[in-house]
């Protein structure tokens, strides 16, 4: 018994804590102003997967697509209790829209053959909520979006409660299935001290290669081998390993293209300053009645 859960996670810029200008003068996004974090709703998906493992046994795999620096969120998943982590990284993944991303992730998930795939409802950088349903479609699996609670798991089927904003729904579906999880589902656990000690040195090959660029004495193969022997090598897969069809990856695989990006400029309209006195406020109210805004 037990379930293999794959959690799809994403490293995102912290759009709520933007320091300085979000945009460079040339119109590109200023990454330096955007600290990278674990996408908040993905933490709830990870928690749901860890909870399944705690109750029923099995294992949890965290998977992400991104640059080698995205291994940071995989380490966080390992700290919290994930059993293994997989980074999909390849220069040919660049400029993937949600459809291409979903295709690539589906190739990765196929390698693992899980019972349950979980992801956050949406990521805070794009807020699209598309990658979950599209990955489910690419895998030809049922999708259950906005999952708030798992009510029952019986080996072959899963019953979940969905939060629809203006109500809820309880649905039953066959496994394997893909769930997208909302932030009201649970309280994500914090990293465990022992696991943090164990996995803080875990790395993917790309990170070691980056280190070797500044320190030529590092033998990448030897370091990878050593980490692997200690269970600390984060698996790194490229599109060749996934047997991905390149027509559906990266820029070529993306039907949507960016036409234009504009920084949000707050339009300063004509502003009247009203002193906080009874007489001035009465004058303002009078003006609003005269122009039929109120009354």
């Amino acid at each position: 018994m037990g379930y293999h859960c794959v959690v799809l996670v994403k490293q995102v810029p912290d759009t709520k804590r933007i320091t300085g200008q979000a945009m460079n003068e040339d119109g590109t996004v200023n990454r330096a102003a955007l600290p990278a974090i674990f996408n908040p709703e993905d933490l709830h998906a990870l928690e749901m997967a860890l909870d399944i493992k705690d109750k029923f046994g099995g294992k949890v795999t965290a998977m992400t697509m991104g640059l080698p620096t995205a291994a940071t969120v995989l380490r966080e998943a390992l700290f919290c209790g994930a059993d293994q982590a997989v980074l999909i990284t390849d220069r040919r993944c660049a400029a993937s829209d949600t459809l291409a991303t979903s295709y690539i992730l589906s190739c990765g998930v196929r390698k693992l053959n899980p019972d349950i795939i979980l992801c956050g409802r949406q990521a805070i950088d794009g807020d699209t909520a598309q990658v979950g349903p599209q990955t489910a479609e690419k895998l030809n699996l049922p999708q259950v979006t906005y999952v708030e609670q798992i009510i029952k798991l019986d080996g072959k089927t899963i019953i979940t409660r969905r939060n629809l904003g203006n109500g809820w729904q309880e649905v039953k579906t066959k496994l394997p299935a893909l769930l997208t999880v909302v932030d009201t589902a649970n309280e994500p656990r914090v990293p465990r001290a022992l696991r943090l000690m164990k996995y803080k040195t875990a790395k993917c090959r790309g990170e070691i290669e980056a280190m070797a660029k500044t320190d030529p004495s590092i033998d990448v193969d030897a370091v990878c081998k050593e980490l692997d022997s200690k269970g600390l090598l984060i698996q790194q897969w490229d599109l060749d390993y996934l047997n991905a069809d390149l027509r559906w990856c990266g820029r070529d695989g993306s039907p949507t293209k960016v036409h234009r990006i504009q920084s949000v400029v707050l339009t300063a309209k004509e502003t009247k300053e009203i002193p906080p006195t009874q007489a001035s406020i009465e004058a303002m109210v009078h003006e609003l009645i005269v122009d039929h805004t109120i009354g």
């Binding site: 810029p13 759009t15 709520k16 979000a22 945009m23 996004v29 829209d97 949600t98 459809l99 979903s102 805070i124 950088d125 807020d127 699209t128 909520a129 598309q130 349903p133 479609e137 690419k138 049922p142 999708q143 979006t145 906005y146 629809l164 203006n166 109500g167 809820w168 729904q169 309880e170 649905v171 039953k172 039907p255 949507t256 293209k257 960016v258 036409h259 234009r260 990006i261 504009q262 920084s263 949000v264 707050l266 339009t267 300063a268 309209k269 502003t271 009247k272 300053e273 009203i274 002193p275 906080p276 006195t277 009874q278 009465e282 303002m284 109210v285 009078h286 609003l288 009645i289 109120i294």
Partner: protein
């Protein structure tokens, strides 16, 4: 995907639950009409459900030239798999150039599944749609009459315009509340095209065991005036001032996400990027600093009164009336002024 079809129609998904048409497809009819007129093609509503034919007439009143009606007992309750199968069949048959969905929980569940199956592009949560051209600089190729899909990204800090020039249909979900409701014209009649639907139990991937839908406690979108409070209101007790001013103006009480998170008011009242988008005649923002996520949901208000103790609060940049002061003093003054004038 389907091939580029410049004669293709503009489609709107006529989302309904239990035979009741949702508001967002009606909002989309006004924008859909505008796009269809620019492209000189018909506007069609796509109506899926159990027994929903009585909604066709209303869709006509709201501006649809045609209604594609697909009814089947197994489609009485919305389900991703069955709706995707039927909808994709219609896209392959009629090859529309644009397909629009409301960015409702249902629309955001369905549209990505359809786009993935069609291998077509999809832009989420658009706040505006236009027709325009796109040039690929490296080759000089120009694509005319494309759907410009305009949406906020990076938490509302940037506005991105997305296009899809070759893998059609051009699909988008559109935020609720950002398009004005069209005025119904009872003379406008839509041509109803009844589709034959083939579905069996095996097309249903899930079984709905129980369901509960509740009306929202407040209808912010329909309110002419909104009085909203933010974290600056300070406490749930002080938030009573927001309710008092709202009552005296016949307004709906609203709130920022921060105020909701602090427990001052129920989440149904939340306005902004992750709440409701509103465009009232008057918006009173009290104790709201004006985070970009909040502004995204209310900056189209016709008149904005901002009350804040901090003269540098960003909300003042978009306010028509700027009141720098303590809201616990200013709001009672406003209530007094309104009661005296009215």
């Amino acid at each position: 995907m389907i091939e580029v079809n410049k004669q293709g129609e503009v489609w709107v998904f006529a989302e309904q639950h239990g035979g009741k048409l949702e508001e967002v497809p009606v909002e989309l009819m006004s924008k859909g009409r505008e796009l269809a007129n620019t492209l000189k093609v018909p506007l069609a509503a796509v109506l899926l459900g159990g027994q929903v034919s009585e909604l066709c007439e209303r869709l006509g009143h709201y501006g649809a030239d045609k209604v594609y009606l697909a009814e089947h007992p197994l489609m009485e309750h919305y389900q991703t798999s069955s709706y995707t199968k039927v909808f994709c069949g219609l896209i392959e048959k009629y090859k529309p150039q644009i397909v629009l969905f409301g960015a409702s929980p249902c629309g955001r569940d369905l549209a990505p599944r359809i786009a993935s199956q069609m291998k077509a592009g999809l832009t989420a949560d658009c706040t505006d749609l236009q027709i325009g051209s796109h040039e690929i600089k490296s080759t000089g190729t120009v694509y005319d009459n494309l759907l410009l899909q305009i949406r906020p990204a990076f938490g509302g800090n940037i506005i991105a315009t997305i296009i899809n020039y070759d893998r059609w249909p051009q699909m988008a979900t559109v935020r609720e509340g950002v398009m004005p409701m069209p005025t119904p014209n009872i003379k406008n009649k839509a041509q109803v095209i009844k589709e034959t639907v083939h579905l069996s139990q095996s097309d249903l991937a899930i079984e709905i065991l129980a369901e509960h839908r509740q009306q929202k406690k407040v209808n912010l979108k329909a309110s002419r005036i909104i009085v909203a409070g933010g974290a600056g209101v300070g406490s749930k007790e002080n938030f009573k001032l927001i309710w008092d001013l709202a009552h005296c103006l016949g307004a709906a009480p609203g709130a920022t996400r921060a105020a909701v998170d602090l427990g001052f008011i129920d989440r149904d009242h939340q306005i902004g990027q992750t709440g409701t988008t509103v465009r009232p005649v008057l918006y009173v923002a009290a104790g709201i600093s004006g985070a970009i996520q909040h502004q995204a949901g209310m900056s189209d208000s016709q008149k904005i009164i901002a009350i804040n103790i901090d003269p540098q609060a960003p909300i003042f940049n978009i306010a028509h009336y700027k009141i720098v002061g303590d809201l616990t003093q200013v709001i009672p003054m406003m209530i007094k002024a309104i009661k005296e004038k009215a």
